[in-house]
Subunit: 246 residues, 6 copies
């Protein structure tokens, strides 16, 4: 059995029966505000502080500064970690990233090797859809990205901007079928409030909890709570209350 990599999010590691398989790629899909980027940063931060593993965050985010600010508000000082050379942030474009990933001598690959990067977050993989409209070409791009990441046995998290509801994994390029693991984050309306729900939809080569669990964004990051009770059709976003009698 291969080594497992803790995400550092207690409840999630539980759900993953230990963590993510080393060298696996994990897709984290969710609506805006459901905390995909936070989940990725926490994965890196935990690797650095708990496992002393250096982390690499590749961001296609249009506003670099907001990443630092968001991290700070969660209690993580990214600049400090960068100064200590335990974290590396790369702000680039999908096209450049793909090119670097494929040229062994690129700064990216040199960093990966010299720094012995074990954990990588790509925020967000949705930006690759800007490179082409052809689903076949997009699928090839995804394959190249994932191949490049697997080559070095890196455990990576790919965030995905997903506005949908429910289970639907319909997407150009069939990314969901290529990645090893899928984590869904959703908004669920409960008692006239929006709550965040988290679900492990798929893990390759190991079993996982099937529960749909609450989670919160707090200082310190994501806190996974208990599963929902007395509701059905949670993934629709508008669950129904179940009569106690039932």
């Amino acid at each position: 059995m291969r080594k497992q990599v803790k995400t550092g999010i207690v409840g999630l590691d539980e759900m993953l029966s230990g963590g993510l398989l080393e060298g696996s790629t994990t897709l984290v899909k969710g609506a805006p505000g459901t905390g995909n980027t936070t989940l990725g940063m926490q994965f890196l931060h935990s690797g650095i502080t708990d496992e002393d593993e250096r982390g690499l965050l590749v961001s296609f985010e249009e506003f670099p500064f907001s990443l630092h600010r968001d991290a700070l508000s969660l209690g993580w000082d990214l600049r400090k970690l960068e100064k200590e050379e335990r974290l590396r942030l790369i702000f680039t474009s999908p096209r450049i990233f793909l090119a670097s990933l494929q040229s062994p001598e690129s700064p990216l690959n040199l960093t990966i090797q010299e720094w012995d990067i074990r954990r990588l977050v790509l925020d967000s993989i949705s930006h690759f859809t800007r490179m082409t409209r052809d689903p076949k070409e997009l699928r090839q791009i995804y394959n190249r990205v994932i191949n490049g990441l697997k080559r070095e046995g890196i455990t990576s998290i790919l965030t995905s901007e997903d506005s949908g509801t429910g289970l639907s994994t319909e997407e150009k390029g069939r990314l969901s079928f290529i990645v090893d693991n899928i984590i869904l984050t959703r908004y669920v309306e409960i008692d006239s409030s929006m709550q965040r729900a988290l679900l492990v939809l798929k893990t390759r080569g190991s079993d996982h909890a099937k529960e749909i669990r609450r989670f919160k964004l707090r200082e310190g990051g994501i806190v996974v709570g208990t599963k929902f009770e007395g509701r059905e059709a949670l993934l629709s976003g508008s669950p129904r209350a179940i009569a106690p009698g039932r």
Copy 2:
């Protein structure tokens, strides 16, 4: 922790646990008549009267006079504020606004600096969809707009004409993923009446109330009420009553 900017709408500031982060961009999406423009005007008016911060309202609205009239009916005399040089109204086109925002010497930027503008409302950002049909180009336009606004650390509200229901943030240019905060206004059918509902869907770098709350448009502006009770699937627009037993 960075300073927070009060919207001046009591219930909403509560939900935002204090207000909007200074320098953040907030998307206010809602159907016609749900009060997006009012929310923006109240944000400016409160800044002027409560915080003595000058405000700038950029409107792509086809009928300038209706803005003044609507404000008056809510008890706000915009012309007076303009005369006192505490408020500046600019009626322009998306194309001109974008160009001015990018040329440092433009009247727009001069106003922003000379007047030391801290609060800006853009009514409505939907008009940028008139500039292109290409989602990639639209996303770039949105980025330029938001970059331009953030450059000066302006706290801005972008209203969005949104005819949809539910949570769906599907939109050309993925605006929802670029802005810092999202506020949704919706119509909800309760007891054979249409009520207005307000929801903070996302705030960057801080937590916020998840409740779906009633609100009213009154003289003086928006008044946020309590959350809805005994209903489920509010965001569908046609909620279901829940049996008390449940």
Copy 3:
């Protein structure tokens, strides 16, 4: 506070807390047979008989005679009113109307001035969609029409052929965001019968009743009744009965 113009439909004027703002444009959207044209005619007829204000009805209707016939069946003799020069009917095409509206010397504008027209009905604005397929151009057309009407401070009702259900205001040219007021008429299935429902969705610069009310077409015109009881999801067109216990 500006003067309000009574529609002459008692229940509706109540819902509008007095009537329509003078000089405002009101969109009346509804499925075929829900009485949009009737509402417009009643608005004009009441202006003539109750307020002694002359009215102008611009119709793009393919069958002029049916307009007279329908009016008669409701008890209104349009020909008589025309003879008395208290009502003017113009049967024209969208293109010609738009051109006339923009040329000050056009018969249309002369009529408006010489007759001192205060109330105008356009039946139906949907016909403008026949002029272009480009949403941007359509929006400009709508703006020109509404600007033209507002120039003279005319209070106008624009009927719209709307086959949809629910609240959706999705439409080419975003008309709903340009007009001042929106009234929706709908069919609702109650006790195996189709009933007509009326709703004020939006009024600019004033509050309005949010109730969904029954209405009937009678000799004498529209009679607005009470709101619906014991049903939810009325706007879906297929409401659910609510158990009395709830």
Copy 4:
């Protein structure tokens, strides 16, 4: 008040508070097998036998013989009526029909005048969609057809092949807004059986019953029954039973 023309279908004439307005055009929309053609034939047959008015049936039907056969199975001998020169059947194409309708000297118009045709059935108007894909052009075609029929004051029934459910009148050419009256026939699932439902959706210039009523196809034609009880959302095709308590 203008004369009313009985359809000869007892329950339906009731629902129409007497019948169809003389000279009006009625759209009968329904799914295959719901009896639209039967309704039209019964209208003609009743005119001939009860009112001694000659009838004209224009059919675009691909299989003339099936019309005769269907009529026979309902107890109507069309050939006999043709021999007696009380009924005229014309099998033609949409294009030819439209051309004839517009040329005063065409056999069609001569028949209409010489025979003094008061009742006409067009089966089915959906075939005109085969003439063009342009909605504007289609609307003009519909207008020409209906104008042609109204010119002579003919009371006409236009059947329409409609596969939809519910109330939706979405259609190319906006036919529903041009005709005077609309009758919908639908399938409704009740107690694991398909029942036929009939509904008068719109009548111009007169009121009508709003009930959704059962109907059957029997020897002798359509028999309209009582309205449905204890069900809601009938028009969805899959109604819900309502608890007696409610």
Copy 5:
């Protein structure tokens, strides 16, 4: 009254109040595995063994042998019937079939006449959609096929590959409006099992049972059972249980 042709499926003949009208065309629509082909084969087999009428099966099926195998598994030895010259199987393409049908001297037509074919099954008519993308042309093709079959007074069953649910008969070429009879087969989820449901949606010139009935595929063919009880919205595929109280 014309002669009726038994399908040989007891329950179905009941529902058809005797059988199919001689010379009529029947569309059998259903999802894969719901037994459309079986229904057709049983119709032919019953004709041969019970009525001593020869049958013709025209198949566009890609795998001839599977037809023989499926028949065998149901207890029907097609090869034997072919040897006895009581059944004729023709495996061909839509294009060739259409051409032969229209040339009087074609082997197909010669067979039909020499063999005095009374019953024909076309499996499946969906394959004609492969001949054109133009709905008008498709409708003409359907008309030619059905005309060709009716010319000889053949009673025919046309199977249709239909993946939909519910009643929707939306289809290119409006086949449902051209055929005489429509039989729908559906899957229905009851008590966590998939059951087969059968429904006669339309019969031309005669009445029919409206029930939605269970059916099974057994050795010997289709066995139609009782109608469903205590469920509503069967045709949705996901029926709701009805409380006994109701």
Copy 6:
């Protein structure tokens, strides 16, 4: 009656009343993570170890190594089986596979004959959609594939990447109508957890269980459990609880 081939999955063989017909093609459709590939591997593994039948796995999978890893995690050492020449893995492209299948002398066909291959898994057939956008051409490709497999009487399982829910078998190329058997795997939300559901939708030439059953992925492979109780609309993915009373 022809021989049946056990899948080696106890519950599934039960549902298939013994197994798959020898020489048949089975489509296994499911969402990512529902275990389609596992089902195929187990079918091969069981053939090798229980029936001493050699197996061939053709994979279009982008990451060969993950196949080995996944198998290992389920307790199957594919490399060992390959060394023992009891299993053959071929990683290729849709285009090459199709070409080889059609050339008798291709390594693929030689392997099939020399190894006397009885069981084959194609993972996944969805990749053929990458070869063309034309549904007709796709259907021909599917036919060639399935013909090629049937020629040798091979019993084959074709996995299909399916992101849908419910029963819908809508797909380009109408694959569902060509294959002999269809097995659906689905996610179902029960008590705030995602459970895996398995369903035999269609088997050619034999009956099968209609139940919707739970299944789990364990070391050793798929374990099929009991059917679901007290729920309706399972295939919607969001089932409703049924009151015990019902």
